[in-house]
């Protein structure tokens, strides 16, 4: 079909901050074949693939793919239906809570397939990959191998001409790995024109590719067929050839790993003994009756795919997990998680780097030494010894984050052995490490085992590492398939290599799961569909709807997000409704009556009969008054002086003093108003009694508008609705986009024909819908729990609410374009929306009383325009005629936020 190269890079340089990923790279990848990029982590393989797929923005240089220039946005849009890109990481672009079928269906929709076509393709692809029995299983619960097969199906659903796979088999067991490549081969035989470009760190795998480019530090160090590369280097294996191709400086000091034979065991007590270890999580059995014995000083290897139970077994041996059944012994002692002594005997290195990045290398060593209670006098010497032995002396005062992976792994090992443990448990310590660093790491392990007699229990994916172990155990789906010396296992199965022996065991164990070869062959060759010469449509409601459906499914399956979206507004509404109260009632007071006459009792009676006040036991002394005011028990004290009754009767104007607790000024201020009111009424009664009625010169008639009962909730609740409908929808929408950045599924925005507007609107719709459900709930709570009257236009409130939520979710999405983590999105959105909504939109201070800047801040945010609508519709009885300009303004905000997000969101990674 295409002649000439499928991907061509010329003078491409790419930097991430200060670090240089690609350095003036020129690379031409031939078309119509399976081409591989080989090399360890961090040499720039992924960058090359991402640039070729058009998901990463080109910095300098020229990248051509399928004959088009990938710098041109129009070209990228045109070629995106012809390219499939599968990013690195197990199922990274999949949606873990969606089932296998739902994932495939989503991708089918993105490429505009009809329902019937999607169904046909899904059935075909699932049959070919043997995933049919798992069609309803959530992607997150698949094993690593199955995830990758599903990701491949998702990539193949639209019959691409260029398939780009970034380390598709890292962390996958050998059988799944072999099945994966067979699948790719089958598909290539059916669609011979398709070009496949793969990056891999497994040299064994690269042997089967048609063409290879070996990379090192942003450079290509060799290209050609595997045979050419081997023969040019004069080596038997690709791995050896690769090492010999490396620059002299890097290669220096590389010595092949030699494992001296193990001295005969001194006594019979095994170092580690596991008997029927079982671990279940709910109804899932992670480890199923695993038993083994590891001799002292032995290097015992654990092989198996991701998720087969290796890590769980190791965690049970370290005491991190309590076995559901079975037991384990360390040097004959039963393993007890609570026993601090056995912990001192074990060193553990977990799968991913797990030391404190905020501490330096030396501080990390120091912390671990001391927590393991290495005697204080030895700590310094021990740290120096570790720095020396593991080649960390030059990095002692640097933080681990800036060190290369290989050195960080050495640091982890140093930390794990600083307390001289007799047993070392290492969970995939070398994944992602380059071959030279890996060999160096193994030399340290051999030294620990053979010289110091440390027992080593290690899990790995690499067959050449497994071959160095004294014995290995093959594990699958929680069970141990075989245990023995590597040589014996190969001989026993009559296999050519350890990998073949392992696959043989796996096939025997999992016969049912492997699709019969015939299934693949009987699948009809996919008819080559006529290629559309035109680019996909700029805007497609189908793609938009695909995102809406998917977002809705994900949301309904995430309990915490759903709780926040639905229960959050209700909890907060009730809290605010009661919490922001300006009615002061039941204010407690006590009388300090020093007179005790009928007149003084009548005075106190005036206060205790008011509905605003609640009388407490009387006060007897000045000290008591001070104490009870100090304790906050009393809001105010009425003090009646001795001789009050006498003075009153004789017309000598006795003094009453009221002492307020001024600690809470608003309460005191209001109390003062009420106290004055009571005192005035009392004066009037007294005057009436004595016949000297004071005639007021005028009357001031207060008329309470909109809220005759002067109920706080009538005023607060409509405002709280305004606040809730900005806070919760904005945070939800912000999290919705940032989550994709965190989990990696944002790759689908970069790699498929979905446009930015479709992506934004599609993701926004479910949140607008949830916002409307919340709005309806809040209105009902206002009407029935808080009994706020509704006097205005319901249609106005409904239309304005839709527009307002469209605006607030749009605001959240706009912020999510600038944030990178969910937590930053949550707090940034909360702070930025709360300030204008609470302070400048009439919640506490009426907008008319705002001064200067605050007023403009308020008007630049939708809340200040929506607040008159909620208050107007509930208490003021207003309608369309009064408030249509506010509705227009809300529509404007929704539109502007969408446009700004469209500008801020990037279709390509940087």
């Amino acid at each position: 079909m295409t002649v000439g190269p499928v991907v061509e890079l010329a003078g491409v340089t790419h930097r991430y901050g200060a670090s240089l990923a690609l350095d003036h790279l020129d690379l031409t990848i031939p078309s119509g074949c399976m081409a591989g990029l080989i090399g360890p982590d961090g040499v720039g393989k992924s960058t090359v693939l991402a640039l070729a797929a058009g998901v990463r923005k080109i910095q300098t240089g020229r990248v051509m793919a399928l004959g088009g220039d990938m710098a041109d946005a129009g070209q990228r849009r045109q070629s995106s239906p012809r390219v499939a890109y599968m990013p690195q990481g197990l199922g990274r672009n999949l949606y873990p809570t969606l089932s296998v079928r739902e994932n495939l269906d989503f991708f089918g929709r993105l490429f505009g397939h009809s329902a019937a076509e999607r169904q046909r393709r899904i059935v075909e692809l699932l049959a070919a990959t043997g995933l049919s029995p798992f069609v309803d299983r959530p992607a997150g619960k698949l094993s690593g191998g199955m995830k990758q097969k599903l990701a491949l199906c998702c990539a193949l659903i639209h019959d691409p001409d260029l398939l780009i796979l970034d380390e598709p088999t890292t962390g996958v067991d050998p059988l799944s790995r072999r099945q994966f490549w067979n699948l790719v081969d089958t598909i290539r035989t059916r669609r011979p024109g398709m070009s496949v470009v793969v990056a891999t760190a497994y040299m064994e795998e690269a042997e089967r590719f048609d063409w290879l480019a070996a990379m090192h530090a942003g450079w290509v160090i060799a290209t050609g067929t595997p045979a050419e590369i081997r023969s040019n280097a004069g080596k038997d294996t690709l791995e050896a050839a690769f090492i010999s191709l490396l620059p002299e400086a890097v290669r220096a000091g590389h010595v092949p790993v030699l494992v001296p034979p193990r001295p005969a065991a001194a006594d019979g007590v095994p170092a580690i003994e596991a008997d029927g270890l079982t671990c279940r999580f709910g109804d899932f059995t992670a480890v199923d009756h695993v038993s083994f014995r590891i001799e002292r000083g032995e290097i015992f290897g654990f092989l198996g795919s991701n998720g087969c139970g290796k890590t769980t077994t190791m965690k049970m041996l370290t005491g991190l997990l309590q076995p559901t059944e079975g037991s384990s012994r360390l040097f004959g002692q039963p393993m007890d998680a609570r026993d601090m002594k056995t912990r001192g005997n074990v060193g553990y290195m977990s799968q991913s780097f797990s030391l404190y990045e905020e501490l330096t290398v030396r501080q990390n060593l120091d912390l671990h030494a001391r927590l393991f209670h290495v005697p204080a006098s030895e700590v310094a010497a021990r740290i120096e010894a570790m720095l020396e032995r593991y080649g960390l002396a030059d990095h002692a005062d640097r933080k681990p984050g800036v060190l290369p992976l290989g050195i960080r792994q050495r640091l982890q090992l140093a930390v794990a052995v600083i307390h001289r443990p007799a047993v070392l448990i290492l969970d995939e310590p070398t994944s992602g490490v380059d071959p030279i660093a890996r060999d160096g790491f193994w030399r340290s392990l051999v030294q620990l085992s053979r010289e110091d007699g440390v027992t080593i229990f290690i899990s790995t994916h690499f067959m050449n590492e497994a071959e160095r172990c004294d014995r290995i155990s093959l594990m699958h789906a929680g069970r141990v398939l075989a245990v023995g010396a590597p040589g014996d296992l190969v001989a026993e199965r009559g296999a050519a290599s350890l990998e073949d022996a392992f696959i043989d065991h796996l096939e025997a164990a999992t016969g049912a799961e492997v699709p019969p070869a015939s299934a693949i062959e009987t699948v009809p060759v996919i008819a080559e569909p006529p290629r559309r010469a035109t680019a996909p449509r700029r805007f497609s409601t189908k793609r938009l709807w695909a995102y809406t459906l998917r977002e809705t499914m994900e949301l309904t399956r995430d309990r915490i997000r759903l709780f926040f979206a639905l229960a959050g507004p209700i909890i907060l509404m009730v809290t605010f409704g009661y919490g922001i109260s300006f009615n002061v009632e039941n204010l407690s007071f006590a009388a300090f009556d020093q007179d005790r006459t009928p007149e003084s009792r009548e005075l106190v009676e005036q206060f205790s009969s008011s509905r605003y006040f609640a009388e407490q036991p009387a006060i007897d002394s000045a000290t008591e008054m001070t104490e009870r005011l100090q304790s906050g028990e009393l809001g105010f004290v009425v003090e009646v002086p001795d001789g009050y009754g006498r003075d009153l009767v004789s017309g000598r104007r006795p003094q009453i003093s009221v002492t307020l607790d001024g600690a809470m000024p608003f309460r005191a201020e209001t109390a003062r108003g009420y106290v004055l009111g009571v005192a005035n009424a009392y004066s009037a009664t007294l005057a009436a009694q004595s016949g000297t009625e004071a005639t007021a010169a005028y009357t001031l008639l207060p008329r309470l508008r909109f809220n005759q009962a002067f109920r706080s909730v009538n005023a607060t609740v409509p405002n709280v609705i305004m606040l809730m409908l900005v806070l919760i929808p904005a945070i939800m929408a912000a999290v919705g986009v940032v989550r994709e950045k965190e989990t990696g599924s944002i790759a689908n925005l970069h790699a498929t024909p979905i446009s930015k507007v479709e992506f934004l609107l599609g993701k926004q719709l479910p949140y607008v819908a949830i916002g409307l459900v919340s709005a309806a709930t809040l209105v009902l709570i206002a009407l029935f729990l808080f009994q706020v009257p509704f006097r205005g236009s319901l249609s106005l409130l409904a239309v304005a609410t839709v527009l307002y939520i469209a605006g607030t979710t749009g605001f959240g999405q706009l912020l999510s374009c600038f944030t990178r983590t969910q937590v930053a999105a949550i707090f940034a959105t909360a702070i930025l929306s709360i300030i204008p909504a609470v302070n400048f939109s009439g919640l506490i201070v009426p907008v008319s009383s705002l001064e200067g800047g605050g007023r403009y801040v308020g008007l630049a945010f939708p809340s200040a325009w929506y607040q008159p609508i909620t208050t107007g519709c509930f208490t003021k009885g207003l309608g369309w005629l009064d408030l249509w300009p506010n509705v227009l303004a809300l529509a404007g905000f929704a539109l502007v936020f969408l446009l700004l997000s469209q500008l801020a969101l990037k279709k390509q990674e940087r």
């Binding site: 965690k315 370290t318 074990v346 553990y348 799968q351 030391l355 990045e357 905020e358 912390l367 927590l371 915490i560 997000r561 907060l572 009661y578 919490g579 922001i580 109260s581 204010l587 100090q630 304790s631 906050g632 104007r653 009453i656 002492t659 607790d661 001024g662 600690a663 608003f666 309460r667 005191a668 201020e669 209001t670 003062r672 004055l676 005192a679 004071a694 010169a697 001031l700 207060p702 008329r703 508008r705 005759q708 002067f710 009538n714 005023a715 945070i731 999290v735 989550r739 983590t821 969910q822 949550i826 506490i844 008319s848 009383s849 705002l850 208050t871 208490t875 003021k876 207003l878 009064d882």
Partner: protein, 375 residues
């Protein structure tokens, strides 16, 4: 025991290092204890200040002009004169909180003793200002009219002499209240976030596994996080009270600072335990954020530090006091800082939130191991 103490001390050192290395959290702590306090307390929002008033003057007399002149900043904006038929529309649009309506012949009727009526229209949807503002306006009007009629004929004839004074804050300045209550809010918010984040950070980085394979117990790990984060908050709160509240805002603090800080230390232990308990329910910082925001808002708004506890319905007040530590802490802080109360007065509050802390701590330890099983 000595081993436990030495482990906890080591881990506290490590925690402090982690906090120091997290610029986002540090900025949040500094912001909440400085800028946020200053802004919120200067924005004394429930005070009657700068309220918009209109006057409908149908009298056009010397007295009606005198009334308009008497309504002045800072409590009120200078009143705007509007026509009688514009009142409804202006109130609907929320342009004014008060409209004072002076009827025709008001002055003449007043002088001839015909007891005329003044109408004060109040927008009662502006609750914070409407009540106290109406009282203020009424006293302005009464003062002006009394002055106009010459002397104070009413006051001399009152049969009793009422003296109202306020203790602890004689001029009822809201900044005294707002600033200290904002410190309480910041203490609650930051302790909750810092402690929860400390646990989630370890889970996200996988370092928690490392700690647990070492000869360190979960209780030691949890305690070290509680103490380290509590220490940071207590120090920050002390500095904030001295520098921002006492010095920059010139708010006098009546009571004993050592007693307050001791109580705060106990309170941070309680809230940090709550933060860790919440963190055991979430797997990522994102989830923690969604969980913690509603809880934080409830703790702060219903603590009695915003509006009085007695305004709440009885059931809600009781629930808050039993479940949440913030009402007793706010009561404790108000007692010590405003009213100068001593230990003898505030011990029941101290006991309440400390006991609640004990419950949270026990629960978070219970959940701790169960959660690790699911990493």
């Amino acid at each position: 025991m000595r081993r436990t103490i030495s482990n906890v001390l080591r881990l506290i050192g490590k925690e402090l290092h982690s906090i120091w290395a997290d610029p986002v959290m540090l900025i949040l702590v500094v912001y909440s204890f400085t800028v946020a306090i200053y802004m919120v307390s200067n924005d004394a929002s429930t005070e009657v200040r700068h309220v918009a008033v209109a006057i409908v003057d149908e009298d056009h007399s010397q007295l009606s002009r005198r009334l308009a002149d008497a309504i002045r900043p800072p409590e009120f904006q200078a009143p705007e004169e509007i026509a009688a038929d514009a009142v409804d529309a202006a109130l609907d649009a929320g342009r004014f909180v008060f409209v004072l309506h002076v009827p025709p012949r008001f002055e003449a009727d007043l002088v001839s003793g015909r007891r005329p009526e003044l109408l004060l229209e109040i927008d009662a949807t502006a609750m914070a200002q409407a009540g106290n503002g109406a009282t203020d306006l009424a006293s302005i009007v009464s003062g002006e009219i009394a002055g106009f009629l010459g002397g104070g004929p009413g006051s001399a004839r009152e049969p009793v002499d009422l003296v109202v004074r306020a203790w602890f804050n004689p001029n009822l300045e809201t900044v005294w209240f707002g600033s200290v209550m904002q410190v309480m809010n910041s203490i609650t918010m930051l302790t909750l976030i810092l402690a929860g984040a400390a646990l989630i950070r370890e889970r996200e980085h996988g370092t928690i596994e490392h700690l647990l394979v070492m000869p360190v117990t979960p209780a030691e790990i949890v305690l070290s996080k509680i103490f380290a984060n509590g220490l940071v908050i207590v120090v920050a709160a002390a500095l904030c009270l001295i520098v921002v509240v006492q010095w920059a805002l010139a708010v006098p603090i009546a009571g004993s600072m050592p007693l307050f800080l001791a109580g705060t230390a106990l309170y941070t232990v309680t809230i940090a335990s709550l933060g860790i308990l919440l963190a055991t329910f979430s797997t990522s910082m994102g989830q923690f954020g969604l969980l913690v925001i509603p809880i934080m808002v409830v703790l702060n708004l219903l603590s009695g530090g915003m509006t009085p506890l007695e305004s709440m319905p009885h059931w809600l007040r009781l629930t808050m006091q039993v479940v949440a530590p913030s009402p007793s802490f706010v009561a404790f802080a108000q007692g010590v800082l405003y009213r100068g109360a001593g230990l003898g007065t505030v011990w029941p509050d101290l006991l309440t939130f400390t006991a609640q802390g004990g419950v949270y701590f026990a629960l978070s330890l219970l959940r701790f191991r169960g959660v690790l099983a699911r990493i």
